[in-house]
């Protein structure tokens, strides 16, 4: 485990030196600031809109961060040949993947936390209360972001970076669809579409902005189950990514 943590910290420093993470984080904060400036037009409880749009902004931010952080890691390592000495002796391929993933996951967690605090500040500045479930809601979006991170790693082992982003966005979009909606995309083969949808995650599990914005309590058990669900999908995608990576010829 120690080599993985060391490599994860190395990845963390490496990612923090890149401008991508700072650029995306600044864009998220600017978007949140913009959301805070939306006039209420006399509608009571304007905080609902700020919260709703703000959490949606954080979700999109998690997607952008996942793509921005992870889509270039392996291709860059391969291009610069740094992956060869790293996995030659000190690290196995599994440890390489885990180290890279952990480093990126820490950066994503930090960025989401900053976004959450930013949203809280905007709510307070506009004279609204900060809901109790704000942090757990951000936690669920973070788990969604980690799953997307695993997806980006999976795609990065067998596609080019320009193709990685659209594929991840496509998966993100279809994962939001209901089974009936997904089958309608290709109604000629309903069984195939249902099977495909069964494999894809249900992203609506991570969306609790509506009840939070309307002040409805969410059972604590739900947070636990949703976290478990997201982490299980993340583990599944990482294992698929590792299986692909183990098959790759790095020469």
């Amino acid at each position: 485990m120690k080599p993985v943590i060391t490599f994860a910290l190395m990845t963390l420093r490496n990612l923090l030196r890149r401008r991508t993470i700072w650029g995306i984080s600044i864009v998220i904060l600017i978007a949140l600031f913009g959301i805070g400036q939306i006039p209420s037009y006399g509608v009571s409880n304007e905080g609902r809109f700020i919260l709703d749009f703000g959490l949606f902004g954080l979700e999109i931010g998690a997607l952008l961060l996942a793509i921005g952080l992870a889509s270039n890691i392996y291709p860059r390592d391969k291009e610069k040949k740094t992956v060869m000495p790293v996995i030659a002796v000190p690290l196995s391929r599994g440890q390489y993947l885990m180290g890279r993933f952990l480093g990126a996951a820490i950066v994503e967690a930090a960025a989401m936390l900053v976004g959450c605090v930013g949203l809280m500040v905007i709510l307070v500045m506009n004279g609204h209360n900060v809901p109790v479930d704000m942090l757990p809601a951000t936690g669920l979006l973070l788990v969604e972001g980690w799953f997307l991170l695993a997806v980006v790693f999976f795609f990065s082992f067998w596609t080019s970076p320009p193709l990685n982003a659209p594929l991840t966005v496509l998966l993100f979009i279809v994962s939001q669809m209901s089974v009936a909606g997904f089958v309608k995309l290709f109604p000629q083969a309903p069984d195939l579409m249902r099977t495909l949808r069964l494999i894809l995650p249900h992203m609506d599990v991570f969306h609790i902005k509506d009840p939070i914005a309307h002040g409805i309590d969410i059972p604590g058990m739900y947070f636990f189950l949703a976290m478990l669900y997201g982490l299980a999908y993340m583990a599944f995608m990482l294992s698929l990514a590792l299986a692909v990576f183990r098959n790759r010829d790095l020469k």
Partner: protein, 140 residues
């Protein structure tokens, strides 16, 4: 590798319980979906259209037996009050807020399926790791 993956996914899909997705629209009972208020009817009025007293009379004729008692009372109350629209209590499930309460956090009957999916995915992950590791060792 591809064969192994295909085998694993096929085995997973052979289990009838695993073939059931947990799309709320498909697995919820009609009461939870609020279909007893004819929301899913394609020929009904468009979303957002206001219900009138005439609509209420129509509802009463056609679907009175399907309506829960409290909703029927609600309809009568709105008629008695003289309003041309009926009003629901805030935060309550009704034909206009069905979408809100049909989200996973509110549909506790799918939580078991979420656990089921999580366990299957964890088992699949372990299986993929073991099989891909074994195949890699054998190639060496």
């Amino acid at each position: 590798m591809k064969l192994t993956l295909a085998f694993l996914i096929s085995a997973l899909l052979l289990f009838p319980a695993c073939r059931t997705d947990y799309d709320i629209q498909e697995v919820a009972n009609p009461q939870h979906l609020g279909t007893d208020h004819s929301d899913d009817c394609d020929d009904c009025e468009p979303e957002g259209a206001e219900h009138t007293e005439v609509d209420h009379e129509h509802d009463a004729d056609t679907a009175e037996t399907d309506l829960p008692q409290d909703e029927s009372d609600e309809h009568n109350a709105s008629v008695i009050s003289g309003s041309d629209r009926h009003v629901h209590d805030a935060g309550q499930r009704n034909h206009g807020t069905g979408w809100f309460f049909n989200q996973p956090w509110a549909a506790s009957f799918i939580w078991g399926k979420m656990v089921r999916d999580s366990l299957i995915l964890l088992v699949l992950s372990a299986a993929i790791l073991v099989v891909s590791g074994y195949l890699r060792k054998r190639r060496r």
